[in-house]
C-alpha cells in the first residue's frame, strides 16, 4: 500500500510538470498547426538561463522564473517572428516544412549551448534540493512539490488568460479557425507570434522547475520534446485541458510501469499508451472532455 501510494503521488507530481511541458506544445499546435520539435530545446535554453543567474548572482531558480521566463518568451517571439511566421505565411510552403524549420531551430539552439557552455553536466544546488517531506512513510521531494504547486498556478494563470482576456479569446479563435478569426479583425500574425512566445515561456518555466531535481546539458531537450509530443497526442491536438490530463496520465503511467513492471520499460509504457490512444481514441483525451 505504501509503495502504491508513493508511486501514485510520485507520478502525480511528475505529471504536473509534464502537463505544463505539454500545454506549451499543444497551444503552438493549435494556433500554428505544427508540431514544435524545438520544444525541449527551448526548455533547455530556459534551464541554462536559470543556471546562469544562479551561478552569477546566486539567484534562486524559483525567483529566476521571473527573469528567465520573460527572456525565453522573447526568444520564442523572435523565433516565430523571423523564422517560423515567414514560412507559415506562404501557402506554397507545406506545413511539413515548417516542422523541419523547428527541427533546425532545435539543432542550432543545442549547438549554440554546446559552444557557449560545453558539454559538461550542470546542476543547481540549493538548500532545498535534497530536502524531502515525510508523510508517514511516503517521501516527497520538496522541489518536486514546489514545482507541482507552481505548475498549477501557471496553468490557472494560463486558463485565466485564455478564457477571460481579449488576447486569450483571440488565441482560441485563431486556433479554431484562422480565416474566420482574421475576418473578425484579429491579426493572426500577432496571435501566431505571441502564441509561440507563450508556449516557449511555459516550457522554459517547466525546465526551470525541473532544474533543482534534474540536471542540465546541451542535449537535455530531445527527451522532453518526445514527452511533449506524446502528451499532446494523448490529450488531443490543441487542447490545453487534454494536455493537462495527458501529462498527468503519462506521469502516473510511467511511474507505475517503473515500479510494478520494470524501470527499463518506463518509456515503453508511455509509448504503449500513446499507441492505444491513437488506435482507440484517435482524438485524444479531449474526446472525453469535449473541450
Amino acid at each position: 500500500m505504501e509503495l502504491f501510494l508513493q508511486t501514485l503521488i510520485g507520478g502525480l507530481l511528475i505529471g504536473g510538470l509534464y502537463a505544463i511541458i505539454g500545454i506549451g506544445m499543444t497551444l503552438i499546435m493549435g494556433v500554428l498547426g505544427i508540431i514544435n520539435l524545438a520544444h525541449g530545446q527551448i526548455m533547455m535554453v530556459g534551464m541554462y538561463l536559470a543556471w546562469l543567474f544562479w551561478m552569477a548572482f546566486g539567484l534562486d531558480p524559483y525567483l529566476s522564473l521571473f527573469l528567465a521566463v520573460p527572456l525565453v518568451f522573447l526568444l520564442g517571439i523572435f523565433l516565430s517572428k523571423y523564422l517560423l511566421y515567414p514560412l507559415i505565411e506562404k501557402d506554397s510552403i507545406l506545413p511539413e516544412n515548417q516542422v523541419l524549420m523547428t527541427v533546425g531551430i532545435g539543432m542550432v539552439l543545442v549547438e549554440l549551448a554546446r559552444f557557449i557552455f560545453s558539454s559538461d553536466y550542470r546542476s543547481v544546488k540549493t538548500s532545498y534540493s535534497d530536502k524531502t517531506i515525510m508523510l508517514g512513510n511516503i517521501s516527497l521531494s520538496w522541489p518536486l512539490v514546489i514545482a507541482f504547486v507552481i505548475a498549477i498556478l501557471l496553468t490557472l494563470g494560463l486558463f485565466w488568460l485564455l478564457i477571460k482576456t481579449d488576447l486569450g479569446r483571440s488565441i482560441r479563435a485563431t486556433a479554431q479557425d484562422r480565416d474566420a478569426a482574421t475576418l473578425m479583425g484579429i491579426s493572426s500574425k500577432r496571435i501566431t507570434i505571441l502564441t509561440y512566445g507563450i508556449g516557449s515561456g511555459l516550457v522554459g518555466a517547466a525546465g526551470i522547475l525541473l532544474l533543482p531535481i534534474y540536471y542540465l546539458f546541451p542535449d537535455v531537450g530531445p527527451i522532453f520534446t518526445v514527452k511533449a509530443f506524446v502528451i499532446t497526442i494523448l490529450g488531443g491536438l490543441g487542447s490545453p485541458i487534454g494536455a493537462i490530463a495527458g501529462g498527468i496520465v503519462l506521469g502516473i503511467a510511467e511511474t507505475f510501469g517503473a515500479t510494478y513492471i520494470s524501470m527499463g520499460y518506463r518509456d515503453a509504457v508511455g509509448l504503449v499508451i500513446f499507441l492505444l490512444v491513437l488506435v482507440f481514441l484517435p482524438g485524444g483525451l479531449k474526446q472525453i472532455f469535449k473541450i
Binding site: 508511486t7 543545442v110 558539454s119 553536466y121 550542470r122 517521501s139 540536471y215 517503473a258 524501470m263 518506463r266
Partner: protein, 413 residues
C-alpha cells in the same frame, strides 16, 4: 612509325607518373581516425577523451612525431548512437582514408563501428567500449584462430572483468550476504549486470533483484523503493554519470541507509561530474576503476597534472588515461611501421605491441573466447571527503577504506 611514337609517348607518360609517386616523399602529417561521442548524452566522457588524445598528440609531436612526420587525429562524432557510429567509421575509412581508427566509447557504438572496421579491414584500437563481444571473433563470424583476419584490438578490459578488483574487497572485508543490482538498459549495463550476478554467485552473495532503467530518467524512486524493500547488504550500480548522481541523490532522499555499501561499476561513478552533481550523496560511494593517478605507474601523475594544467577542472579519471595511452600506443605502432603506413603493416605492428603506458602495460593477447585483448588489473576507489581515493588493493591504496559506513551520519546535513 606513328604507332611507335605513341607507344614511346605512353611509356614516357607512364614513367613520369611512376617516378612521381616513387620520388615524392610523404612529409605531411599521418592521419589517424578517432571515434568519440562529442555531442549527446555521453559527450562529457567523449570530451575528456578527446582532450587526452590532444594532450598526447602535442607531446608526441613536440618530441619529433612519427619517424619525422607529425601525428594528426581526425575526430568523428558518434553522438552516442550506434547508427551514427557506423556511418562515422565509414566516413573515417572511406572519405578521410585513415589507415587506422582509435577511440570507441560506448559499448553499443563501438561494436557497431567495429563491424565496419572489420569489413574494411582497418585496424581499430578500442580504448573504452567494454562489452565482451567486441574482442570475440565469433561475434564477427570468425574463430579465435583467425587473428590474422581480425582487425579489432582493445586496451581496456572487457566489462565482465571490471569488478575483478572488487571481488577480493568483498570477500575479505565487506562480506555482504546479498546484493541488489541496478543497471542501465544498454549493452554495457546489461552485460555488466549479468557478469556481476555471476561473480556474486561465485562469492556466495545472493542476488535479491536486478532492475534496469533507461538513461536520462528523472525519477529513480520507484526503482530505489523496490531495492529498499528487498533490504540488500549492498547495492551495485552500472550507470553513466548523471544517472549515477541522481541514483545516489535520490537514495539519500528516501533514506535508503540499510546497505553496507553502495558500489558503482566504474563508468559514471569515477567521473568528477558525479561528485559535483551528487554533492554530499556521493560521499563514501565505492566504485570499481581501471586506473587512478596515484598508481605506481610511470607518468600517471604527470599526465593527471598536465591535464589539469591544460584543461582545468577536476582532472581526468580512467577514461582520460585510456585515451591518452591509446594515443601513445598509436604513436608506438606507427613508429614501428617504419614508413609503410598501410593497414596490414599497422595490424602486424599492433600484434607485436608490448609497451608501457600511463594506463599500465599494453599487450594484446588471446584467452578464452577473446583475442587481441589487453589484460589488466582493476582497482577499487572510494569518494572520501570529495576526493576519489584508491582504497584497494591494500598495498597500492593511498587512503584507508572507510568502512563500516553509517549512511545516516554521512548523509546528514
Amino acid at each position: 612509325m606513328k604507332f611507335t611514337k605513341i607507344l614511346i609517348g605512353l611509356i614516357a607518360v607512364g614513367l613520369m607518373f611512376s617516378l612521381n609517386s616513387c620520388g615524392k616523399k610523404e612529409t605531411g602529417p599521418i592521419k589517424i581516425g578517432v571515434l568519440l561521442p562529442l555531442t549527446g548524452h555521453q559527450a562529457n566522457f567523449g570530451t575528456m577523451e578527446k582532450n587526452s588524445y590532444e594532450l598526447a598528440k602535442e607531446e608526441i609531436n613536440a618530441k619529433g612525431g612519427i619517424n619525422g612526420r607529425k601525428l594528426e587525429f581526425v575526430y568523428e562524432d558518434d553522438t552516442g548512437k550506434p547508427d551514427v557510429g557506423r556511418s562515422a567509421a565509414e566516413k573515417l575509412i572511406n572519405v578521410d582514408k585513415v589507415p587506422m581508427i582509435a577511440g570507441g566509447y560506448s559499448s553499443s557504438v563501438t561494436f557497431a563501428a567495429a563491424a565496419v572496421a572489420q569489413q574494411y579491414r582497418t585496424p581499430f584500437l578500442v580504448n573504452t567500449g567494454s562489452v565482451d563481444k567486441i574482442t570475440q571473433p565469433e561475434d564477427f563470424n570468425l574463430t579465435v584462430n583467425d587473428g590474422d583476419k581480425f582487425y579489432i584490438y582493445r586496451m581496456n578490459p572487457p566489462v565482465s572483468e571490471y569488478a575483478s578488483g572488487l571481488e577480493s574487497l568483498l570477500s575479505e572485508v565487506v562480506k555482504p550476504k546479498s546484493v541488489y543490482i541496478i543497471h542501465e538498459n544498454t549493452a554495457f549495463g546489461t552485460k555488466g549486470a549479468k557478469s556481476f550476478a555471476k561473480t556474486a554467485k561465485k562469492l556466495g552473495i545472493e542476488v535479491l533483484g536486478q532492475q534496469q532503467y533507461s538513461a536520462g530518467t528523472v525519477d529513480f524512486k520507484p526503482l530505489l523503493l523496490n531495492a529498499k524493500k528487498a533490504n540488500p547488504d549492498m547495492v551495485y550500480m552500472i550507470s553513466y554519470v548523471m544517472d549515477a548522481a541522481l541514483l545516489m541523490k535520490q537514495a539519500r532522499e528516501i533514506n535508503f541507509t540499510t546497505p553496507k555499501l553502495y558500489v558503482g561499476a566504474g563508468a559514471g561513478f569515477t567521473m568528477p561530474a558525479f561528485k559535483e552533481n551528487a554533492g554530499k550523496a556521493s560521499d563514501h560511494v565505492v566504485s570499481a576503476t581501471l586506473w587512478h593517478q596515484t598508481l605506481p605507474i610511470k607518468g600517471a601523475k604527470e599526465y593527471y597534472d598536465n591535464y589539469v594544467k591544460k584543461y582545468g577542472g577536476d582532472g581526468p579519471d580512467y577514461h582520460g588515461a585510456e585515451a591518452y595511452s591509446a594515443a601513445y600506443v598509436v604513436a608506438d605502432v606507427l613508429t614501428r611501421c617504419k614508413g609503410d603506413y598501410s593497414k596490414e603493416t599497422i595490424k602486424k605492428a599492433l600484434d607485436n605491441t608490448d609497451m608501457m603506458t600511463v594506463f599500465g602495460p599494453v599487450k594484446f593477447v588471446s584467452y578464452g573466447k577473446k583475442i587481441h585483448q589487453n589484460k589488466m588489473k582493476t582497482y577499487v576507489v572510494q569518494w572520501i571527503n570529495g576526493e576519489l581515493k584508491l582504497v584497494w588493493p591494500k598495498n597500492l591504496a593511498n587512503a584507508k577504506f572507510e568502512y563500516p559506513i553509517d549512511w545516516k551520519k554521512v548523509w546528514a546535513e
